[in-house]
Symmetry: C3
Subunit: 468 residues, 3 copies
């Protein structure tokens, strides 16, 4: 078995001079608290504080990054412990052995970096994961997870998380957040308003969702006026439960600015059975602008995460459902798409919009120029497939010269893989310190400026941008 | 107050070995004269040789790079000294203080590099710009600008400018260029033919511009034949006033090759009130090919600068007009777009076409392959938002392996920020020497070859490509 | 005359520490046999083993990379030894002198690296190619080519080629492959099934090709059923002649999944004189899925090479025909395009699809996510214009973090420039070792893992992916 050692200089630039500067910068930010303003952890974890079941159920089965890579090399989902419609899943131990025996597939990927951190720092493993060490890993991790020290609140505190945001839909009653607030635990777990299920006419059960929203709010959500009032009511409820942001995961970044009459007529059409894709797209577009208008009123920071083709593999989707690693990025246009919204609210000092992309070709061409002009617009960090060392470097190199650092918002871990959160923030801090060190070593910035920015990127910017 | 020091090795690669090679290359080109074949300085400066008013009016108010960044962080244009339709502007000193207090926003941007050069090299400032040094800067710079040493011609000579091109429309009478020619000053300030206002049917006042062109030339510019004759006449006039190039800033790179009959009919349609966007686009496309044909005749080098969405922010445009930092790049297609023109003139040895882009995804995919095949086609340097250290590196890395160095045309500063011109050329020379040094250190090129190329990129290529 | 020296550390990273690691990795793979699973050498060379004529006919006239660069700088094709319809070509010696006098144009391009290897390693030249050394080169190379040591089979053996694939159409009778098999020479030269001429309705002579295919197979290739049967028959013949793969060079990556009835009707329409571009595109799309289905049956690995605008310059094409360096990459979409095929066969364990691109913006956005999910899909190496040091680095940086290394297939030389094959593999091995060394030096991978991968990328992956 090979040793597992996290090198203290990992992910810092190779050049000894640059690395020395990066190391100094990193030293000052590595222990800052974690601010996690956008993610997908389950609030029930923190409400119930129940132990996680075992290594595979925590670290393999729910991680679509890990599932996708193993699946791409021919391992069926069942063998990875994922239950399908027509097939029983492998046991946790069996599934774990598949991961272990194929751990080499992750060489060069961020999953490897995150997992090694979790293994080494969270669980104290000292050998590399492999077929030989599979059972050792499974037993050690599963045992640890049964202890108090590995219950969700204890990990939250141990990880130094200052605040974490989860993501819920308007139909969610936020009882877990209420339970957390009512408990004697001090951890700050807030929600974010993600209304896709009641905004996207192509979402599964859109009509039923509108009716449920009516029931929940007492508004008539089949009328445009009642529908908007229901959004306002739920946003207000989310805000009172700690939310400081909304989030929108549309297929494109399209926005629109229709008249109230046009919007009302469109809303009627999208409730019909024969809604066209163009009508659905226009409605989503109009609703982004409506949401922006509500953000001006209530102060929720607005996030847009566009450009993913969800559930690309229909065979997999039919058997195993969504979020199994078959979402694929799409080319995404922002300049025309965002214009209606930005023309209306982009210069309003009360409004703040954070845009993400999966299409890196827009960093320098579209997003940095837009963010470098509109007061309301800021850029989210390198997202999803680009939440990685090379991805972050491309992001900083592509964005900074036109948008500067101050039109970016620090790091988002955007994950449901709770244990990897410190690993992800640590990776981001290392890469950002490395980038800043390059600027210092090329005399494009002074060392004290880089130190200010290192802290900003690691902590201050996220707090400010998300109004935390 | 922090010191302001320009490090002699700034912008050179961090690796000590590579830097040593880059330093040697740079030493041989740093003092070469400046050839500025494409830009937007005001010929009136050199005609009248009047003093510039003050620090803010010279370095802040006209610089859309600087305005856009400050605006993006919530500073209203009025506070930056820009006069709008309905609001008075802050005084120059007040505006300057806003820049000074927010100078940290420019960290990591080329504006910071250019401005620091201007502050240090042109004005001898020894502390960094900040809220504390704001008034010191404003007073020192404003005082200096009142002296003879800072009048335009003196700066031109001091900067070692061998030739500079301005840009004028066909309706311009070029009286400033005439005045310069008639003066006893030896500086070479030439014009370039930029006919967008009389070519683009969507340009403000297109019809009136045609009539003005008729008046100016004695041709009937409402007829296709007269319109073409007027272009020929104005091109000839521009050429006699020193122009060696034309320039075309269309929304796309579309070209067309219609028959004379089709062109004539199209020209009639685009003068109608109900011209469609498609007709306007086709007319611009045809006119690029017409201009190429005239270039074959008269020898003006043709430049195309496509792909900018001008005045993206309608609120800002309504109050402050154009060129305030709200132009946003668009995805731009070249392979189909340029084909009609290239099929017609791309192999003609008399023709030279220089193409620019704001869409870096086309460097390696479209532009380098096109320039690496067509005899007439050369690539302009990294442009506008990409006129920056990382932008230039991406350009060289993306373009060189397919187009080589010899299908590129050296550096353009493309600026109206006169004092930054030496800073911009210096930046380009440093980055190019760094790139060449990387090739040498990886043994992809010999040192003496790199030295030849360093000189070519800094000086020879621009003179040759622009026929200067 | 300047010396020609291939530095032992060429193409390895400049940083001394990283270079040291890269050198170790390279040392272990530099002498591995060459596996060339996709290329365009002429099987007649190995069947007849005739001597190559002279330096220009071997190294200049057939090399579209070299032709295009010289052409782009104004050298007519005739002067380069290329015969046109209406003009005699320069002699080989004259053409060679043009290359020699313009060899500086190739600075910074991979052609320069490949050619210098050929000159130095294959022919023992010790001075750089230039106007002065032109005749020395021509004479030395031409003399060498007349010797037994430079006949195709001798070079094949000397280069350490374990297996090479050529590419033939369904109408090819593969007599050269038969001759090689019947000879006493042990070299392994296999074919690949490239059916574009009988699949693409826009291919020159499509109808006649169908008839020829009928003649060859005894099937009625004007009927859908007969046409498919003919494909099966030819694929089987190719497979028996050694083929392990098919290859498809369509303008786009579009695939379709029509019903048999729809396909049959479409096949009838595309044989009509008035076939529309959309029908032709849909037919090509459907045929990719048909070919995938046949691959499931017969085990041929399927390759798709989309996105080239062939023969962009109509003037050149009219005079000199195809493959003269006027093919230009196009923006290419994969997510929607490949979905019909992947939905049908992408999860089938018997199927293997290797996709290439000329559009680097799809590496991280589309192709790596697709390959990182679908079991059947793997990514071909950096292709054509991107088969270069910077191109390969962008490929590895863009692809690895999402697809990993194991969803890639090693190197393809994809060339008809036989003598450059070892140079191309050597270049790829050096760049890959450099990339791996960067990962090691940033502690993103252990040295022993990098060593495994270096061997995989140089040798193992190609053998496995192409079932060789």
């Amino acid at each position: 078995m090979k040793p597992l050692v996290l090198h203290p200089d990992r992910l810092l630039p190779a050049d000894p001079g640059v690395r020395g500067i990066a190391r100094e910068l990193y030293r000052e930010v590595c222990d800052l608290p974690i601010v996690s303003p956008h993610g997908h952890t389950d609030p029930a974890w923190f409400a119930t504080d129940a132990n996680f079941p075992d290594a595979a159920q925590l670290l393999l089965v729910p991680d679509h990054y890990v599932l996708r890579m193993l699946h791409s090399q021919g391992h069926p989902m069942e063998a990875l412990g994922v239950r399908g419609k027509d097939a029983p899943a492998a046991s946790s131990r069996e599934a774990w052995r598949v991961l272990a025996a194929n751990y080499h597939l992750f060489r060069g990927t961020p999953s490897r970096i995150w997992l090694d951190w979790v293994f080494s720092e969270a669980f104290g493993m000292e050998v590399l994961l492999s077929a030989e060490s599979a059972d050792l890993y499974f037993d050690r991790i599963t045992e640890a997870l049964a202890t108090d020290a590995f219950r969700p609140r204890a990990l939250f505190d141990r990880f130094g998380i200052e605040v974490i945001a989860t993501t819920e839909g308007p139909l969610d009653t936020l009882e877990h957040h209420a339970a957390i607030a009512a408990s004697d635990w001090q951890g700050r777990v807030i929600t974010a308003y993600r209304p896709d299920p009641v905004i996207d006419p192509e979402f599964e059960g859109f009509g039923a969702n509108l009716d449920a929203l009516s029931d929940l709010t007492g508004e008539d959500c089949r009328s445009w006026r009642g529908y908007l009032a229901a959004h306002r009511q739920r946003r207000d409820f989310f805000r009172r439960m700690g939310a400081t942001s909304s989030d929108h995961g549309h297929p494109t970044a399209a926005t629109a600015d229709l008249s109230p009459q046009e919007s009302e007529a469109l809303f009627a059409r999208v409730q019909a059975d024969d809604v066209s894709p163009a009508e659905a797209e226009l409605f989503r577009a109009q609703m982004l602008t409506e949401m922006a208008g509500m953000s001006v009123e209530d102060g929720l920071v607005m996030q847009i995460h566009p450009g993913s083709f969800r559930n690309h593999n229909p065979v997999l989707f039919a058997r195993f459902g969504r979020d199994k690693g078959a979402d694929i990025p799409l080319r995404t246009e922002y300049v025309h798409a965002l214009r209606p919204l930005l023309a209306r609210y982009g210069s309003d000092p009360r409004f703040s919009l954070i845009v993400f992309t999966l299409d890196e070709s827009t960093y320098a061409r579209e997003l940095a120029p837009l963010a470098g002009h509109y007061p309301a617009l800021k850029l989210g960090p390198a997202w999803w497939f680009h939440d990685s060392p090379e991805g972050m470097r491309r992001y900083r190199r592509g964005v900074t010269e036109t948008a500067g650092f101050y039109n970016t918002v620090g790091f988002n871990d955007d994950t449901r893989a709770f244990l990897s959160i410190p690993a992800r923030h640590d990776l981001a801090r290392r890469i950002d310190c490395g980038f800043l060190a390059e600027l210092v070593s090329e005399h494009r910035m002074e060392d004290w400026e880089a130190a200010e920015l290192a802290r900003g990127l690691a902590y201050d910017f996220a707090k400010a941008a998300y109004r935390l």
